[in-house]
Amino acid sequence: MARIRVGPADEIQPGQPAFVTHGDIEIAVFRLDDGFRAYRNRCPHQQGPVCTGPVSGTLVATADTDWRLAWVLEGRVLICPWHSMEFDLDTGRRIRAQSERLRAFIVEVENGEVFVHVGRQAAPAAARSRA
């Protein structure tokens, strides 16, 4: 398993991931409110460059919203630029299709520097950084 340096944590801004490569694997590191997430830049749908897409929110209407349209998860929804598939950056799972998910990697922050561990896939919960 390789430990890849990404860069200073304070240079990774919300919605603007930092990219690193390991062999032919491209990884994007995103900043969320509670730390960092790292995902492979490949959409499970048609292998598009999912992490180059915008980070936004999404539209839902559920019992929790009394079946009214609501804009939710602002800043947490990654949208694939190829076919607009939506993924929750917190978990890596596709929104409304939980069985599909992005490949996640473990992220660490050490002395203000961000690192990802490449070589084995992290469970979504384990992928969260110690920010």
């Binding site: 048609q46 915008p54 076919h83």
Partner: protein, 371 residues
């Protein structure tokens, strides 16, 4: 080409013909090719704002949807042959058959002379700036439905040019549908020139069946009606009015509807025909037999939970040599060729779908790698 037959076919192992890629034709690009007084119209249109496939008087959309942020990345365009060739190379696509962007909606124009002039300008622009055997970019002659006689002349003109391999029949906003006898001159010319006709659908809201969707709230409903239902409706009329009987050497291709609606059309039409044979007096055989002889482009390829079901679906209409790959590049719902190639088809079916069937259908040169 030598390869380990035990390995799955890769993109570089197969000859890939993409039966649907889109050349963007802004009004100012066509202006030099169009007759007066329409040149003045295109020059004026070229000075205005150009929203994606929505230019009043040129590609009008009745766009009723509330917009949301960050969903606009699907608005890709390809504006030069060089750009198209480079992007198809990135996708490992050897040959592309060109369709328009804005003029996908040409059938909606009530002004017959203007529509016909636009069609002529588009064909001339393609011939001048896009199609080339060397780059593997081929044209589909735009047949303007409002003026079938003029369209037939265009087919005879460009059908003699080996850089044009098909006839494009616009579907969006069409009235009447393509089975109508008024279109006979188009079919006569296409058959005479040996060019397959390709019906290509696109999203639109318009007063004509089946495009009268102004009451439908969601795009997720309108999109398949615009595409698959429109193709089905056109197919039904073509069968009922005997297009494949009256033009037996005419090849008919359906573009941008996937394939899963084909068995339904076969069986439903056979059922109707058994009960009401007077409804299709031209037919010499059950409708399904004609439908099986037509061609169907893959995009948007169905993605069933069990991918194997797609193989079954194709076998239901004996489609192993009738299904042809299309990406719809660069539109928002394009299919990467990898998606189709990785379906659980056997190697020969993969080769057929990805390029071999289209190569025969469009009489394309045999590439060195498979010669």
């Amino acid at each position: 080409m030598t390869r380990d037959s035990r390995k799955p076919l890769g993109l570089d192992d197969v000859f890939i013909v993409d039966c649907d890629v889109h050349a963007n034709e802004p009004p100012e690009a066509l202006a030099p090719y169009i007759d007066m007084p329409w040149r003045r119209s295109l020059e004026l249109l070229g000075r205005g704002p150009q929203r994606y496939l929505d230019i009043p008087g040129y590609a009008p959309i009745l766009n009723l949807d509330p917009p949301f942020p960050d969903r606009g990345l699907g608005n890709r365009t390809v504006t030069t042959a060089r750009q198209m060739r480079d992007e198809l190379d990135e996708l490992s696509i050897d040959v592309g058959i060109l369709f328009p962007d804005n003029l996908l909606k040409i059938a909606v124009f009530p002004h017959v002379d203007y529509a016909a002039a636009l069609g002529r300008a588009y064909n001339a622009w393609l011939a001048d700036a896009w199609v080339s055997r060397e780059t593997g970019l081929y044209g589909a002659v735009l047949a303007v439905p409002q003026d079938p006689k003029d369209a037939a002349e265009q087919i005879r003109t460009y059908g003699a040019d080996d850089r044009f391999v098909a006839v494009y029949l616009p579907v969006a906003g069409l009235r009447p549908l393509w089975g109508d006898r008024m279109y006979d001159p188009i079919y006569e010319a296409a058959e005479e020139m040996g060019l397959p006709v390709m019906l290509h659908s696109v999203g639109i809201i318009h007063p004509h069946f089946p495009f009268n969707l102004e009451h439908v709230e969601s795009r997720i409903v309108r999109h398949p009606i615009n595409h698959e239902f429109a193709l089905m409706a056109n197919l039904f009329t073509m069968i009922a009015n005997g297009v494949p009987v009256r033009y037996p050497d005419l090849e008919i291709v359906f573009t941008e509807g996937g394939v899963s609606w084909v068995p339904f059309c076969m069986w439903r039409m056979d059922k109707e025909y058994a009960e009401i044979p007077t409804g299709a007096p031209f037919l010499e055989r059950p409708p399904s037999e004609y439908i099986k002889e037509m061609y169907y482009c893959t995009q948007p390829i169905e993605e069933p939970e069990r991918a194997r079901d797609l193989v079954t679906m194709i076998d239901l209409f004996d489609g192993r040599d009738k299904v042809i790959f299309a990406s719809d590049w660069p539109h928002h719902d394009f299919d990467h060729p990898r998606k189709v190639l990785n379906m659980p088809f056997d190697a020969q079916l993969k080769r057929n779908i990805m390029g071999e069937t289209a190569r025969r259908l469009f009489k394309l040169p045999v590439p060195v790698s498979v010669a």
